[in-house]
Symmetry: C2
Subunit: 139 residues, 2 copies
DNA sequence: GAAAGTAGTTACTTTAAAGTGAGCTGCTAC
DNA sequence: GTAGCAGCTCACTTTAAAGTAACTACTTTC
């Protein structure tokens, strides 16, 4: 068959598009960064615990204290995925008890800077967005 | 009681942190942008259907064709939320049949530029990230 | 001797986002 | 007279991400 219905052509296009999305680097990165704790960890490691200083290594428990809402499961899951991507390095020291510290790699730091721009945008335009929302909801 | 157990203090800190996250502008924007279709719509409207040109208004059906995998529900939901935030403007023309076009506002265009930086990062570092993943998975 | 800090793991449950499929109105082309 | 385009909405189901709780094992402090 060379002739196909519109529905068939549409399904085909959709499959192709999904395949494209699966390998699209921008889409992958956006998916990674949009995890609930990813940006928070990146920010803590990249701008210090107060989110206003310089990058410095932090221990597991220190991160858990700063990101007050995170469960141990989510924290280690997030750190593991960032480590897998080469964005964070993990260093264990054999003290008693063991000390584990996490630090942004050069790659992680560069991603942090990029994500930080998004944050700056958000802070600059928060009032603007809120005003638009109020106007929209009023009608 | 002025003395509390560690568990109580932790629960308290968690509640406070969650309240903080709920109003944090960066977190809100990240949540908005990380919707599956948001970045895709932003990109289509901000860089043209081929994602390599200039911003220009597009019709509902044109967007649906370009974003081949999107369902009518998700497309209108996404457009509605972007419109609510003042990022996209909707213009209906009373032709037969009706013509509806969507266009980035100045605010939407500025967000598009910021998100675009993230995309450029992703494209620049995709190989680097993939290499780290392979090394990590091998061990 | 109960609780806290050290850095996690495992199994189970919840929930919010996304997907599916149908339907709507009015018109046109094959 | 079936199918298509145009621009949606509504109800239902699926699924992946996140949350919850419990447990590891060893040390130190109240």
């Amino acid at each position: 068959m060379t002739t196909r219905t519109a529905a068939e052509r549409k399904a085909d296009a959709k499959a192709q598009y999904n395949a494209f999305l699966a390998v699209c680097p921008s889409h992958q990165i956006l998916g990674r960064v949009s995890g609930k704790w990813v940006a928070l960890v990146l920010s803590a490691l990249g701008s210090g615990p107060d989110c206003a200083g310089d990058a410095r290594p932090m221990r597991y428990s220190e991160l858990a204290r700063v990101l007050a809402g995170v469960s141990p499961k989510m924290l280690s899951q997030t750190l593991r995925s960032l480590e897998r991507d080469g964005l964070v390095s993990r260093t264990a020291t054999a003290t008693v008890p063991v000390t584990v510290s996490y630090e942004l790699t050069a790659l992680g730091l560069s991603l942090h800077h990029t994500v930080h721009q998004l944050k700056l945008w958000a802070e600059r335009h928060r009032d603007d967005v809120a005003a638009h929302q109020d106007r929209y909801d009023a009608t």
